[in-house]
């Protein structure tokens, strides 16, 4: 039986087809438009998306985690087996060369400070983007729930996109189509402004910036004092 309403998740190619039908774009431009749509979606995921991935990864014996290939940005790291998400604390002083199979940082005294008391940390991490590794202390050999921002572009099926993002992709395609067709510079600027407006509207109503998501997520999952 057919669905009653149009789906909220739409394949990226369908958004492109719909755009081309609306703007009477010849089929000739489909491949270019589809590639532009991928770019737009990926950039949105990098900069403004509210969407994040959760993946359970296993830290090795020294507590080192290899980032997933699609990971663009880091949100949080928690023990995978706990019912409550206890986030790990970033510790830039962690020496990746010296972390061992044991939990190395004894925290007992650091739980008392000027601004608060309690919240003994058991989990620390240090992110090294160059090596695409997350070095941890406390997660040795454990399953870890990694929350991160992904490119969002699937490699196992066609990418499905939240339909609220369709106006942003439409505006982006309209702008790029102008460039492909040699539109004058003032027209291109008009279309670019249209794209920026679409992003603002999306951010305002449905798609809070990544940092807002991050703060929001951590504020409800943090156990207390964070150093």
């Amino acid at each position: 039986m057919a669905e009653t309403y149009a789906p909220a998740l739409v394949r990226i190619g369908d958004i492109v087809e719909s755009f081309m039908a609306k703007w009477r774009v010849p089929m000739n431009d489909f491949t270019n438009m589809l590639l532009f749509a991928f770019d737009c979606y990926r950039d949105n995921m990098s900069h403004t998306s509210r969407l994040y991935n959760r993946k359970i990864v296993t830290a090795d014996a020294n507590g080192t985690i290899t980032m997933p290939k699609d990971m663009i940005d880091f949100i949080g790291l928690c023990p995978a087996t706990e019912k409550t998400l206890w986030p790990s604390t970033e510790n830039t002083n962690l020496n990746p060369e010296a972390v061992s199979a044991n939990s190395d940082i004894a925290d007992g005294y650091e739980s008392v400070g000027y601004a608060g008391r309690g919240a003994v940390n058991e989990y620390y991490h240090k992110i090294v983007w160059g090596e695409r590794k997350i070095y941890t202390d406390g997660f040795e050999g454990q399953d870890v729930l990694l929350m991160y921002v992904s490119t969002g572009i699937r490699t196992d099926e066609e990418t499905y996109i939240d339909v609220t993002l369709a106006p942003v992709i439409d505006a982006y395609l309209y702008w790029r189509l102008g460039e492909l067709n040699g539109a004058p510079i003032n027209e291109l600027e008009r279309r670019e402004r249209g794209f920026e407006k679409a992003i603002r509207l999306a951010s305002r109503y449905r798609l809070p910036p990544l940092r807002s998501v991050w703060d929001s997520l951590l504020s409800v999952t943090s156990q207390g004092l964070r150093r």
Binding site: G13, R24, P26, M27, N28, F30, T31, L34, L35, E157
Partner: protein, 210 residues
Amino acid sequence: MTKAEMRASVKGALRKIDSTAKYHDRMIDRAIEHSMNQFMYDLYRKDPRDLDQYIREYGGEVALAVTEDVSTESYYTDLPAAYVVFPDKQSGVRYVVGHDRDKTVLYPMSITEMLLADRTYLGSSLAEDGDPYTRSFYAVRGSRVVYYNTNSHFRRAGVRIGIVIPFSEYADEDEIRIPFGQEDRTFIAVSQKLAQIPPAELIDNNKDAQ
């Protein structure tokens, strides 16, 4: 107007300088074809989608076969007719649709894009190995179309293809659609073209040097 009628009307309007059959039918056909191609191109420049009116479909009842080129591990279909060349990816092959259950619509791609596609999201993000592709593409290469990202059930079922064919591909009894509003221009252009050819009897035999 059929092809034969069109040819006859041109022939009837040419000057009767010579009692012999001066203008051969094939010469007239060729002149009409050149003019028609020009008008098709004008149409294309105005809006490529207008060419839809002049497409002839092949493989509608009996599907055209999709064949594997073993040496390059690619798939292709030999075109059943010549096409008018246009300066875009589709050229005169305006659409390719599968006979499979999904009636897969293929998207045009240039040869260069096809060479580069494996390194782009077109090659990596429209299906995983072994799963059906959600988007398939074709490129026009000479007298055949070659495919990219096709599924086995599509290849088994074959395709139907819409082609803008030149005047010479039509049979005498076929209806010819002259581009909208171009009837007069077509007729005049063909007449002028043929009028440039001097009759054999008017060669100046009194010239000093032959």
